[in-house]
């Protein structure tokens, strides 16, 4: 049996993982998985996704020995379909981070070249690294503002953040409920597509899970549009309209080797018949602040349950064990000790954003910006957003618009891991602030709008005199589509992947 083979291979997996630290728990039970289409498929699960047989810590000290009483819906589906869950993967604490360095289990080392000690990206760094190192066929991750796409780009694997509402969040440890999205990482698009196909299901246990009929309509709308414009010849991309958002390509980065790689891809797609159009998403410049306010506000709310009472870590205030009036102090001590620095920072930010004095200027303002970001996307895509309230009023059919957007997934290759300070926490490395800013610009808008976004690895551009020298590390290109067009996004991803295989 395949399963037994893998079970006995746990020690081998462990050995391979020592230098990477992608896994925080391995499944060494010999439980027999059911027969199904995913037989033989080994899947690693991010540690903020609940499993009843393995611990679920979300990389936090506050959940250090936590065992969930139930399996997340996605885990149930995969197991039922014959997949084998081989272990839990490292991540940034509660998904808060972009380098997978804020983890009680220590940082993940990018397996592309372990010697260089570069970051795997975050927060789903363990999932991306496990796939990249060949320790599993696919991995589940979660993406709140780029947490699948960024590590996929840094590690050189495919990562899909599906449309919000397609994959059940039941059993996902919430960071920001309105943004959290479960997705898949794998070596190639077809594996991602296969696993996604199974978990793309309505779940009554998730109130934000979208009705089957609605997702079917969105899927058909995007595919019909795309197919009707295309010739039967699959090699010919005539009719495919690709938008390039100008706000994602600031002039300061024109000599960046990654930008030129993306330019190469775009010109190849154009040479195959696709139309490449510059588009503008003018609210992008406000998207970042809106994202930080919303994510940290929801984070402060979602994480208030970790108080040391029902489960998880409890830290008693010193010397006051027998005083029942100290429950408030128990919360304070438990939360101060149990949460890492980055999580504490975001909780404080979010708590402020929700306070009575700040609510209107921060939280409500951010919600308005979020709507503007959605409207921006809706105005550039050819098909309308099925979830937008304006779609109830008959809209004149658009004659222009694009099928997908393409942009780099990350503005740089994997950075080096920072050196940990005395407290075991990474020092805040002084970085290029513009790069930081643009990095977030690339992933956050699709999260705010709940759109499907896929990162596909691409080779670095051939060097020329106008471009800085690349470092040879993986880079990724992102394909973003209208809500519910995940299948179309995957199709385009596959075209890019094939072009790469054929040596561009």
């Amino acid at each position: 049996m395949l399963l037994r083979r893998f079970a006995s291979n746990v020690s081998a997996l462990r050995a391979k993982d020592v230098s990477i630290n992608a896994f925080v728990a391995f499944n060494d039970s010999e439980s027999v998985s059911s027969n199904g289409p995913l037989n033989g498929c080994t899947i690693a699960v991010k540690d903020n996704i609940c499993t009843s047989h393995l611990p679920t810590t979300a990389s936090s000290a506050i959940l250090k020995d936590f065992h969930s009483p139930f399996d997340a819906t996605v885990v149930q589906i995969l197991t039922k379909n014959g997949a084998e869950i081989i272990g839990k993967t490292n991540c940034d604490e509660f998904g808060m981070g972009s380098l997978n360095i804020h983890s009680v289990h220590g940082p993940v080392v990018n397996p592309f070249n372990v010697e260089e000690r570069r970051a795997a990206g975050g927060s789903s760094g363990g999932s991306a690294a496990a796939v990249a190192a060949g320790l599993c066929h696919a991995a589940l991750g979660t993406d709140t503002g780029g947490s699948i796409r960024l590590p996929a780009s840094y590690c050189g694997v495919v990562g899909l953040k599906p449309s919000y509402g397609l994959v059940s969040r039941h059993g996902i440890i919430s960071y920001a409920d309105s943004l959290d999205t479960v997705g898949v990482l794998a070596k190639d698009v077809s594996t991602v597509e296969n696993v996604f196909g199974h978990i793309n299901k309505h779940d009554y246990r998730d109130p934000t899970s979208i009705d089957e009929r609605v997702r079917e309509r969105a899927r058909n709308l995007s595919l019909e549009q795309y197919e009707s414009n295309r010739h039967s010849n699959t090699q010919d991309l005539k009719g495919l309209r690709i938008g390039v958002p100008q706000e994602y390509f600031p002039s300061e980065l024109s000599s960046n080797p990654i930008i030129s790689s993306i330019r190469n891809i775009l010109s190849l797609l154009r040479s195959r018949g696709a139309t490449v159009l510059p588009v503008s998403l003018p609210s992008t410049k406000y998207a970042l602040s809106a994202y930080y306010v919303i994510a940290s506000a929801e984070g402060s709310s979602c994480l208030s349950r970790y108080d040391g009472i029902e489960y998880g870590l409890r830290v008693k205030p010193p010397g006051e064990e027998n005083n029942i009036d100290t429950s408030a102090k128990i919360y304070a001590h438990t939360r101060s000790h149990g949460f890492g620095r980055e999580v504490r920072k975001r909780i404080l930010l979010g708590t402020y954003a929700l306070s009575a004095d700040a609510f209107d200027n921060y939280f409500l303002q951010a919600q308005r910006v979020r709507q503007m970001v959605r409207d921006d996307f809706d105005s550039v895509f050819f098909v309308s957003n099925i979830l937008a309230s304006s779609s109830t009023t008959p809209k004149s059919r658009k004659t222009d618009g694009v099928d997908v957007l393409i942009h780099p997934s990350a503005i740089r290759t994997a950075p080096r891991l920072p050196i940990a300070d005395d407290a075991g926490e990474p020092e805040s490395a002084s970085r290029d602030t513009l790069q930081d800013y643009v990095q977030d610009v690339l992933t956050v808008p699709a999260s705010l709008a709940g759109l499907p976004a896929l990162s596909v690895p691409v080779p670095q551009a051939v060097r020329n005199q106008n471009v800085e020298k690349g470092d040879g590390w993986p880079i990724g290109v992102s394909v973003v589509g209208q809500w519910g067009s995940d299948e179309l996004v995957l199709k385009v991803g596959r075209i890019i992947e094939e072009m790469e295989r054929n040596g561009l």
């Binding site: 039941h170 109130p207 402060s300 009472i309």
Partner: protein, 505 residues
């Protein structure tokens, strides 16, 4: 209006009532709701304990109960409303927040006219929210225990405008609200069990001046406490304002101490917590279509006010008074409220009464008999005596087959030992029936029987008879009582008295 002034002060009262919904399952989880009798921590799911990865799932049954309350209170139901998180750390709040409707409640602008109040009370809004868990602190053991049974139970918060003017009006509002919510099956409204709790806002001002600063007294769980807390607040605020013309009442949240019958300060306005209300990102918009609201309206049980007027209209011509109807309504209030707004299989007192009357029985006598039931010390329940058997009983009474004392005895028997035996058999067994129906009896035969027992009484009670002969007529009652016991009440006391007087003359 002036009669409502207290020594020249106008009192202004508003009430927030928290009512537990009578649903089988909790508001956002499939865990069963609980009673006080359930063992602690036996009725909750992972969601109610705020386990990571759990998400809320709205219980539609709770929504329909909430709609009934809104319609019964004449509210406008918002087509779209939403849920918010109210954040605070407390051991009875596992998630660190309560899901409530802060920004956009589902029902607004209602109007409610309690039966005994002349005026209507405006309902500001009704919001749907989660109840908390219970924390039980034991100071002697220095322990705090948490019971999650109640955590996440559906709760309505019903908020009035400041339209009440006296403690008695406040009491009447709460009692009528309780009756209303029970009648439409929204809640059992049981204050002792905590399924209905009130926060009372009180302020006083001179007539013609703006309302004074209000103080809120939280968590009152009996009508008595509500009245006492308001009375205490009125005198406390008066003391402040009358002692020093420049003094002001401070806005405070207070508690009522029912040991000393006083309110005490819990926190001032400055200490008021910032609850950091945030729209709940999971639950989205709550939509009530007009069709759905209409269908809930059609399925509503009748409201107490319309039941009252219908009963009065139907039966007042047959001698049933408003007071009689109040007795029936009070009996009706004892019935068990079914879960999820289901129709009860058990008849309430009103339905019981109407079924009895529907077979051409005299409503006045029927009402009297039902009124007797509660005098017999058992709460009314249609389960104890079926409509048919009660009918047989009333028929025996109407046909004058029993004396009143015999009837009482029989009713007691029927209550304490429910059985299916025909009522006239039971009465015969107990030897309670007059041997002959009155219209067949000749007076003399009856007189003979009575005469016999009277003669026996004269023999058996010589000293009492001597006293009567000596002119003490009061002793006569004692002799008649002896005759009633001996004959199990079969003799009419008045004719016994007449015959005794004849014999002793």
């Amino acid at each position: 209006m002036s009669r409502l002034l207290v020594d020249g002060w106008q009192v202004v009262i508003g009430i927030e009532t928290h009512v537990q919904l009578r649903s089988k399952q909790k508001l956002f989880s499939k865990a069963p709701t609980s009673l006080l009798s359930h063992s602690p921590n036996t009725r909750f799911h992972a969601f109610d304990a705020a386990f990571p990865g759990t998400l809320p799932r709205l219980n539609r049954k709770c929504l329909d109960l909430a709609l009934r309350a809104a319609l019964a209170l004449g509210c406008t139901v918002n087509e779209r409303s939403s849920f918010d998180r109210k954040h605070y750390f407390y051991s009875d709040q596992p998630a660190g927040y309560q899901i409530t409707q802060h920004y956009s409640p589902f029902a607004v602008r209602g109007l409610f006219t309690p039966t005994k109040l002349g005026n209507s009370i405006r309902i500001k809004q009704i919001q749907l929210e989660q109840d908390t868990a219970k924390s039980i602190t034991n100071p002697s053991k220095k322990s705090a225990l948490i019971d999650l049974n109640r955590a996440g139970t559906g709760l309505l918060e019903i908020v009035t405008e400041p339209d009440l003017r006296t403690p008695e009006q406040a009491a009447e509002y709460v009692r009528s609200l309780q009756e209303l919510l029970r009648a439409v099956g929204v809640s059992d409204g049981n204050m002792e069990m905590g399924s209905l709790r009130c926060d009372v806002n009180v302020s006083i001002n001179r007539p013609g001046e703006p309302h004074g600063t209000r103080c809120e007294v939280k968590n009152l769980n009996s009508v008595k406490f509500i009245v006492a807390a308001i009375e205490y607040e009125i005198s406390r605020q008066r003391r402040i304002l009358e002692n020093n013309s420049s003094a002001e009442v401070l806005q405070e949240t207070r508690r009522f101490d029912h040991d000393v019958w006083k309110t005490y300060k819990m926190r001032s306005k400055e200490d008021a917590p910032d609850y950091r209300y945030m729209p709940d990102p999971n639950l989205g918009t709550l939509v009530f279509s007009q069709e759905h609201v209409d269908s809930v309206r059609r399925g509503m049980p009748s409201l107490p006010a319309s039941t009252r007027s219908r009963l009065l209209q139907t039966y007042s011509s047959k001698g049933v008074t408003e007071r009689d109807i109040e007795v029936l309504m009070n009996l009706d209030a004892n019935r068990e409220i079914p879960y999820d707004g289901a129709e009860s299989s058990i008849l309430g007192a009103v339905a019981y009464f109407e079924q009895l009357c529907s077979r051409n029985r005299d409503p006045k006598i029927t009402q009297n008999v039902l009124g007797q039931l509660s005098a017999l010390g058992k709460p009314f329940s249609s389960e104890l005596i079926s409509v048919d058997r009660m009918g047989e009983f009333i028929d025996l009474v109407v046909a004058k087959r029993m004396t009143r004392p015999s009837a009482k005895l029989l009713l007691k028997q029927m209550l304490s030992r429910p059985s299916n035996a025909p009522v006239n058999h039971l009465a015969a067994e107990m030897d309670l029936l007059d041997t002959d129906p009155p219209h067949h009896k000749t007076m003399s035969a009856n007189d003979d029987l009575v005469r016999d027992i009277c003669l026996r009484a004269i023999d058996a009670l010589p000293s009492e008879i001597a006293a009567i002969r000596g002119g003490n007529q009061n002793v006569m009652n004692k002799v008649v009582g002896w005759i009633m016991r001996e004959t199990r009440g079969k003799v009419d006391p008045n004719s016994a008295k007449t015959i005794l007087n004849q014999l002793l003359r």
